[in-house]
């Protein structure tokens, strides 16, 4: 199966939005984007999604089946929206690791969660999803929300997540995807390439980063492709739910 990702696996190039760049350069280019937007990230999320990102994240929490005492890895957790909820749901005997490759995002997330009084069961780790610094079979749940498309080698990242997940544990990937209907697809394209960068320019003073956001969404594997990638990494009982007409999809897979 040819995917935007796998088409470049033969050589050392990958995509950075619509640009083709060297694999070694992508991580730092993505890092620059997120260093730039970190402080305005939450406001921009609300503006860009009209607040619906809160419901997408709630849907993810509902699908996680989290219970008190669980150990959760919120990968590419950014400003900690999922971590905040998980922290309350796993309780004092559980643990949530907020991991992000980007130190700026991690700092914003840490400050926000501490301001909310969430301190007792959260740890912060700066980590690359492709080589997670955790022991095998550590987590009951792993979530990665709006982060996988920024990872250079997604297959490697999925394998790494599989390794650190406990048997019986589940992975939840919340990510932009392909709208189910052509009309919605066109409207979404118009919004992404015409309105979104202008919004970014106006609010975050950084139109280029939001242009990258739109491009990276288009280059991200569609629902079926990502499901197949998860299966290739070893996940079983994989499934996905389209949300808001497929603008976003939640993929779920188990390790047995």
């Amino acid at each position: 199966m040819s995917t935007p990702e796998s088409s470049n696996n033969q050589d050392n190039s990958t995509h950075f939005g619509f640009k083709t760049v060297d694999k070694t350069a992508k991580a730092s280019m993505v890092a620059d984007v997120f260093h730039s937007v970190a402080k305005q990230y939450d406001i921009m999320n609300d503006l860009m999604s009209f607040g619906v990102h809160r419901l997408w994240k709630r849907f993810t929490i509902d699908a996680s089946g989290v219970r008190p005492g669980n150990k959760v890895l919120d990968l590419a957790g950014g400003t900690g929206d999922l971590t905040a909820k998980f922290s309350k749901l796993v309780g004092k005997d559980g643990k949530v690791i907020l991991a992000d490759i980007n130190s700026s995002m991690l700092n914003v997330g840490r400050d926000k969660l501490r301001d909310k009084g969430l301190v007792q069961n959260i740890e912060y780790v700066q980590a690359n999803a492709e080589s997670l610094p955790f022991d095998d079979n550590t987590f009951d749940i792993i979530t990665i929300a709006f982060g996988l498309r920024n990872v250079t080698d997604k297959d490697k990242a999925l394998s790494s997540m599989y390794r650190v997940l406990k048997p019986g544990g589940r992975l939840l990937v919340l990510e932009f995807s392909k709208p189910e209907h052509e009309l919605l697809n066109k409207a979404y394209d118009f919004y992404s390439f015409n309105i979104l960068p202008k919004m970014g320019e106006l609010v975050a003073k950084d139109g280029d980063s939001y242009q990258y956001l739109a491009e990276s969404i288009r280059m991200h594997p569609d629902q079926e492709t990502l499901k197949a990638m998860m299966e290739n990494a070893g996940f079983e009982q994989t499934s996905y739910h389209n949300l808001t007409g497929g603008v976003v999809a939640l993929h779920k897979g188990y390790k047995f």
């Binding site: 619906v52 809160r54 419901l55 997408w56 709630r58 849907f59 929490i61 509902d62 089946g65 219970r67 008190p68 909820k85 309350k88 749901l89 309780g91 004092k92 739910h241 389209n242 949300l243 808001t244 007409g245």
Partner: protein, 218 residues
Amino acid sequence: MNAFANKVSDKLGEQLMLKQALALTLEKIINKALNLNINDSVELKSLNEKRVTIILDELNSPLSFSVYQQQILVTSFTEYSDCTIITSLKTLKELQKNQQLTELIKQDKLDITGDIKLAQQFANVAQNLTIDWQTELAKHIGDFATYKLTRFGKTLVDKIKFLKNQVQADSSEYIVHEQKLVITKNQLNDFNQQVNNVSEQAEQLMLRLATIEKQLNK
């Protein structure tokens, strides 16, 4: 056709994440109410990290209430709960009376799995919440406006109560008086019988007249 409509409506609900929107709204309302509560007897400590799930017939989706410190988190979990209640909104109102519990279970209106005491503790929290609305309102619109508004509200409520009582009283009186004038079924049957008798007598009379007329003509 109905099954198809239900499927479409479920799919639409999932796409629009109505369950999550409902949970989000409920969570905001509940936690706001907890923040405004002035009744010290309301405490969530004993419920910390406990989860009660309610599955209402009307909603076709679970609502889970998890306690974390002084907050309640509302989710749509189905997989794990300390106490699960399957019922309807109507039955939930009856549940407030403790003595009804066994009766409702017997009638299959209520199904409880897990620790029933948790459900009662949650219900107690809801019942004992007390909010000083006047103080809260005064923070936003000032003391004088709150006083005026409260007085107006009280007068309005009193008037509505008076009107309701008046309508009830008038209705009762109307029914009592009208009842005297309204004929009963027996009276109606009796009247019908009398009419039948009169018509039979009239027919007989006509026959006799016809006979007499014939005799006179001879």
